[in-house]
């Protein structure tokens, strides 16, 4: 029955809002029956909306973005080797790594621009500087780093402008660790579970991977004339340190983040990661033997480069996979809520899953 009346004076008992409620304007005596019928839905593994993903997958594409991640690390590592080589008088290694640093840095920018929806607007990246946006920070970093690496490489290859070259080498080396690591923040600073949840380890994976790759490139210089074991020894050391660091970070992350780590061991991403691990081990072995055999050195160096690339591709595809399946978003969040609810002690209407 309506709560409002049509009196001679007009409507009485109107509702301010149009708050209609379904299934309540029925005789009370029917309530018992229905209350008894109120279903208890058994907790499904998790529910979703027709299996559709909750978050939108990144529109970033391979090889642009995984390549961009890989090249950034490589460049960073190379600039460090280059600076060290200058200081310790390793001319061959210096030339190779300076060239590598510039090539990798420049290529990473090309990859980034190529992936833009509106490449023509690349310069808009420079309209602001936002610490909240790792991509903004990265753009400014690369903006400083790539020219420096360029001058360093040019000077080294032409033998001209040595002072400028030295300064540029130093500058590039200063920016190098940032260039190699900011991309970790870049991908972690998203809602993609496999990336975001891994943010504490991701930077160490990335820098380790970068050192590994640069070391690998350094070891390849053994193929050049006049490059003995001593020339590439720092590269070998850097590669081994990087490999150890990268592997350790990966292990820790996969054990720590639980379900969100699943895509790193399954599917396409998982296969890349596995390949990375195998190649990394082989590369490390090759590097260890690089003192004795230039073949081992070269093969190890190539393997380390490949390992670093494979890992980046693996991380990239693992992210896509975790974005594409709602369970990676829903299950951890639902667990979080339930724990919070339990902590609050009461079933506050949330604790139903």
């Amino acid at each position: 029955m309506s709560q409002s009346d049509v009196t001679r004076e007009g409507l009485r008992g109107k509702r301010p809002d149009r708050d209609a409620t379904t299934g309540v304007n029925l005789p009370r005596r029917w309530r018992g029956k229905h209350r008894a019928e109120r279903p208890v839905v058994p907790p499904a593994e998790f529910t979703s909306y027709y299996g559709k993903p909750i978050i939108n997958s990144p529109v970033w594409e391979s090889p642009d973005i995984p390549g961009y991640l890989f090249l950034g690390g490589l460049a960073g590592g190379c600039s460090l080797l280059a600076a060290g080589s200058d200081l310790t008088g390793r001319g061959v290694l210096a030339r190779v790594t300076k060239s590598g640093a510039f090539a990798a840095g420049a290529l990473s920018v090309v990859a980034l621009v190529h992936d833009l929806g509106r490449p023509g607007r690349f310069l808009n990246m420079m309209r602001v500087f936002k610490v909240t946006s790792p991509m903004s920070v990265g753009s400014w970093l690369l903006g400083g780093y790539v020219p420096a690496a360029g001058v360093a490489a040019a000077s080294a290859l032409t033998g001209r402008a040595r002072w400028a070259g030295a300064a540029a080498t130093a500058g590039a080396a200063l920016l190098a660790p940032g260039v190699a690591s900011y991309t970790a923040a870049l991908i972690s600073d998203t809602a993609v579970p496999a990336w975001h949840d891994a943010y504490p380890e991701m930077p160490f994976k990335f820098t380790g991977s970068g050192m590994m790759a640069a070391g690998g490139l350094g070891l390849l210089t053994r193929l050049l004339p006049g490059a003995g074991p001593g020339e590439t020894e720092p590269a070998r050391n850097l590669a081994l340190i990087g490999w150890a660091m990268e592997s350790a970070a990966m292990e820790r992350m996969q054990h720590r983040i639980g379900l969100s780590a699943e895509p790193y061991s399954e599917g396409r991403g998982g296969r890349y990661v596995k390949a990375g691990k195998v190649l990394g081990a082989l590369g490390a072995a090759g590097a260890a033997l690089s003192g004795r055999s230039r073949i081992a050195a070269a093969a190890g160096g190539a393997a380390l480069l490949a390992a670093s690339a494979a890992t980046r591709w693996g991380i990239f595809h693992a992210g896509l996979a975790s974005a594409g399946d709602p369970k990676y978003t829903v299950v951890p969040q639902r667990q979080r809520l339930n724990e919070r609810a339990r902590a609050n002690g009461a079933a506050d209407g949330q604790d139903r899953a």
Binding site: R18, D19, A20, T21, T22, G23, W30, H34, P39, V41, A44, E45, T47, S48, Y49, Y50, G51, K52, P53, I54, I55, N56, V59, W60, G77, L80, L81, G84, L116, G117, R118, R121, N124, R127, F129, K130, V131, S133, P134, M135, S136, P177, G178, A180, A184, A185, T190, A191, V192, P200, M202, F206, T207, G215, E233, P234, L238, P326, T329, V330
Partner: protein, 338 residues
């Protein structure tokens, strides 16, 4: 570069304040804080938003059409999805309002659906089953065979208090307006796509063939002229309510209390709590089931909440890398082999 990139002037100070604040302290998750204040608007109108009361939605989709008409959002193809009456699928670059339809074996309070499907096997994942894998419109199992309810809900950009899309945008194309809403400047966006995986709700997306990111503007042009957004204007049952966020929250609190008292046991507010992971939504909802049933994340968190910690880890990793390099050379010296 766009023709009038100089609209940038209006947001530059805003980005700076917002940016540094997050960087130094992380987003103020204390809640309550008005995003327009945080964004450095000296004096601004009250924060405006949506309260979508799904319990009175009749699924007419007028909001979807009105939105596309007003904002010239492209039509995005003919696909019979088999997701009940939802042939839109979800929010994206070309869908700024999306009406979800869910068929469930549950009653709304004492509602009697009159149906009977004893002995019909429902897919175990219920309405979480992709239609092509189901023999029928996926329906939530567990309830009695003579019960059925048809949930309808109009989804939209949440205009978060702490908006990840806005935080991560490297060009400043995404801005916070004086109404506290989040808007993409289409003449600035360069389509880097960073905002897309950053959004915890899967709202903003890249338009194919256009390259830029698009999403609900809460009809910035209309509300700037004192009109309500197109979707709210078109809604025949006031399921979509537009107004100052504070008033909407009060109304929503009254409404959910009323529904729970009336026996609508699953009724819950979503995105209303300023203490949640995104500091509360500018567009929040009254739902009749758990958020994930509607394709919404149950406990969304703005990814930039962890950004300060991320930068610290990056710094550490960078230092370790530098140290590693030094060590790599040092070893060669003290290792003595030459």
């Amino acid at each position: 570069m766009s023709a009038n990139g100089e609209r940038a002037v209006t947001w530059l100070p805003e980005i700076r304040t917002r940016g540094l604040r997050s960087a130094l302290s992380g987003p103020a998750l204390s809640g309550g804080a008005d995003p327009a204040d945080l964004s450095g608007y000296p004096d601004h109108p009250p924060r405006m938003g949506f309260f979508t009361d799904t319990s009175v939605c009749i699924g007419c989709k007028a909001c979807e059409v009105a939105c596309k008409e007003w904002n010239h959002v492209p039509e995005d193809g003919l696909n019979l999805l088999g997701m009940s009456y939802d042939n839109t699928g979800g929010l994206g670059a070309d869908t700024w309002r999306h009406v979800a339809f869910i068929e469930q074996r549950k009653p709304v309070a004492m509602q009697d659906a009159g149906v009977s499907h004893a002995g019909v096997a429902l897919p175990p994942d219920g309405s979480g089953t992709p239609p092509e894998q189901a023999a029928m419109t996926p329906t939530t199992p567990g309830g009695p065979a003579d019960q059925l309810r048809w949930l309808m809900a109009s989804d939209v950009c949440k205009h978060c208090t702490h908006a990840a899309c806005l935080d991560v945008c490297p060009t400043g194309a995404l801005i916070r307006t004086e109404f506290g809403t989040v808007v993409v400047q289409e003449d600035v966006c360069n389509g880097c796509g960073y905002c897309i995986p950053a959004c915890p709700y899967g709202v903003i997306d890249q338009r194919k063939g256009d390259g830029r990111a698009w999403k609900c503007t809460l009809c910035y042009d209309r509300i700037s002229d004192g009109m309500e957004p197109a979707c709210a204007k078109a809604c025949p049952t006031n399921s979509i309510q537009f107004g100052p966020l504070d008033e909407l929250r009060e109304r929503a609190d009254r409404r959910v209390t009323e529904l729970l008292a009336a026996g609508v046991a699953d009724a819950q507010l979503y995105g209303r709590d300023p203490g949640d992971g995104v500091g509360g939504d500018g567009a929040f909802f009254l739902l009749l089931d758990e958020p994930e049933v509607y394709g919404l994340p149950p406990d969304p968190v703005v990814t930039t909440r962890d950004l300060p910690s991320m930068w610290r880890h990056v710094g550490a990793a960078a230092a370790v890398m530098a140290g590693g390099a030094v060590a790599a050379f040092a070893a060669t010296i003290f290792g003595g082999r030459r």
